[in-house]
Symmetry: C2
């Protein structure tokens, strides 16, 4: 229920992406059969959202390996490394990209070099995709349990089917809690500059029959002051070993406002988003994107000529502003390094 | 220096407004000689900014009185009341509108009913206008004194020449401090939904040769975290007797983030913005504007069809988040009801 959208699909031997730059005006699907085009699609945000980027990269490896094997059946593994590097450089902050490429490397390692690798790698990519949807379903259940009485919630950016293999992380929790009548109203930050909230979250929720109210990002504190909102529920692009969370720019702002108002703050992300190799949020690289995203809205210039802009795509929310991190392995309340480590070792 | 713009002018017996809806793409001036059109211009935000609204309404009274006298030399004062009501209803939150109408009422009261009132009322309106510019100059000096070492500052919305009689409130302080080399960088929130920062503040600062860097509103906390910003400097639409401040939506959010980071928070507004008749911010009416301002950007629809929106135009920042309120009568540090009362009684 409330789950009808798939933005990343493998179809007819090609990767098929719903072009998120065109939403909500048009539903355009792009068929990709060249790995450089897959990397470009990630860079240009045809596909975005940390888990969806990882899944896309995994399918990208399938495409690349098929092509390299056709070119040079003996040397395809070595040649493929260049494609892995191109995919790896597509974006900077979401660790799911590197995680998925690592999983594909493991799948490559066990293939006999003499064999055509497409079937085996496609199976590995499909497993990443299916595991992500399962993780989202599980997180949806776990996160919804934390919402103990019907209330309004705020979410930021897009963390739904469009951002994942399907169903969503934070939006999966919202779908699940809504289906259990635990949510009275979903408020979605419009999420400047790329407007993921206004364009994508609203599109997804309307499509699945969940009413949604948009607001300017800066109105969130004023909304919290009204008293109806009990939870802020967001996703993540990378979680450090100590529980600090990188997520879409504005998340940190929202966490500070939530703490100030006694509103609880939930981060929902699969363990593929947790990067145990970085100690804290200050070690997570933050992508800075083009100033044009701030100076213009959907190719329409808004800012005065001569103005400069600063456009960090993500920010870091420190663990002490977070009430719960929900992964498919469980709920970490008031996250610390020890609790994150214990959760990661929990072998389901 | 750094002061070349006048958005409200009396010229050739007409009110001339720089249409702020058209900036920065076009500089269009609207000549108004009918009071209903003046009220409409305030409502539609041809002119905006609390002090500029007050000044515009004052000139609107001149236009209305001239017309009423021409229609009925004996009954003009009574007939004028209807026009005052129309002006008074144009917008809700900025108290400068009601303050200016009250000052004009006092000017009307001392005119002999038999006399053609245009000259006397024009003199009163011009005085309101000139007093506002003088107040801005004075606040510019006082506020700049609070910035004790060169630093970056953040401002929100537009509080400059466009929002006032000229020079500006918060932007007046920024102009003044910049001219004294006390500001290393001016960051301007783009200020969704109406984009006053991107469209107006950037336009004004570029025009006056002050470099400006725009950012998405929700990036402000992440910026503060970098450590260069020492002051947030904003204006106000109404200040309650206890020092609570109504200002453009997002100001409250910014004040919470500033407090969290130890960044100081300055509110700059003339005493015409102080409303001693409201005890606290919770008594200040907050205008809710059309959802279209959130669902679209400059008439281009951005949000998914079917989405609703919430669009409060202002929020309330409680006095305890404010380090200084600067008026033309002086600086109130850590504002309280007693200190605000003492400042208002300070007869310059």
């Amino acid at each position: 229920m409330y789950d009808s959208i798939r933005a990343v699909q493998w179809d007819g031997g090609m990767l098929c992406l719903l072009d998120q730059r065109e939403l909500p005006q048009q539903e355009v699907y792009r068929n990709l059969s060249d790995v450089n085009n897959v990397a470009q699609a990630i860079r240009d945000m045809v596909v975005r959202g940390a888990p969806a980027i990882g899944i896309t990269a995994a399918y990208g490896v399938v495409i690349a390996a098929r092509h390299r094997y056709a070119q040079d059946a003996a040397g395809w593994k070595r040649a493929l490394e260049a494609d892995m590097a191109v995919l790896s450089n597509a974006r900077l902050t979401a660790v799911n990209l590197f995680w998925a490429l690592q999983r594909m490397r493991e799948a490559i390692a066990v293939i006999d070099t003499a064999n055509e690798p497409t079937a085996a790698l496609l199976a590995a990519a499909r497993r990443i995709h299916e595991d992500d949807v399962s993780a989202n379903r599980r997180m949806g259940e776990l996160g919804a349990q934390l919402v103990d009485s019907p209330c309004a919630v705020i979410t930021h950016c897009n963390t739904g089917s469009l951002a994942t293999g399907g169903y969503g992380t934070a939006l999966g929790v919202i779908r699940s809690a809504y289906s259990k009548n635990k949510i009275t109203q979903v408020y979605a930050d419009e999420t400047r500059p790329w407007l993921q909230g206004a364009r994508l979250t609203a599109w997804e929720l309307v499509k699945d029959g969940i009413p949604v109210t948009l607001l300017a990002d800066s109105a969130a504190a004023h909304l919290m002051k009204q008293g109806q909102v009990k939870w802020v529920i967001v996703g993540s692009d990378r979680i450090a070993a100590n529980g600090d969370v990188a997520n879409k720019i504005g998340t940190y702002n929202l966490a500070i406002a939530a703490k100030y108002h006694g509103v609880k703050f939930m981060v929902v992300a699969p363990t593929s988003t947790v990067d145990m190799s970085v100690d804290s949020g200050s070690d997570i690289p933050i992508e800075t994107r083009s100033t044009e995203e701030v100076l213009a809205v959907q190719h329409q210039r808004i800012a005065a000529p001569g103005a400069d802009a600063w456009n960090p795509a993500f920010d870091i929310t420190p663990a002490d502003l977070i009430d719960a991190i929900v992964t498919e392995k469980g709920v970490v309340a008031a996250p610390t390094a020890d609790k994150i480590a214990a959760m990661m070792e929990n072998d389901l």
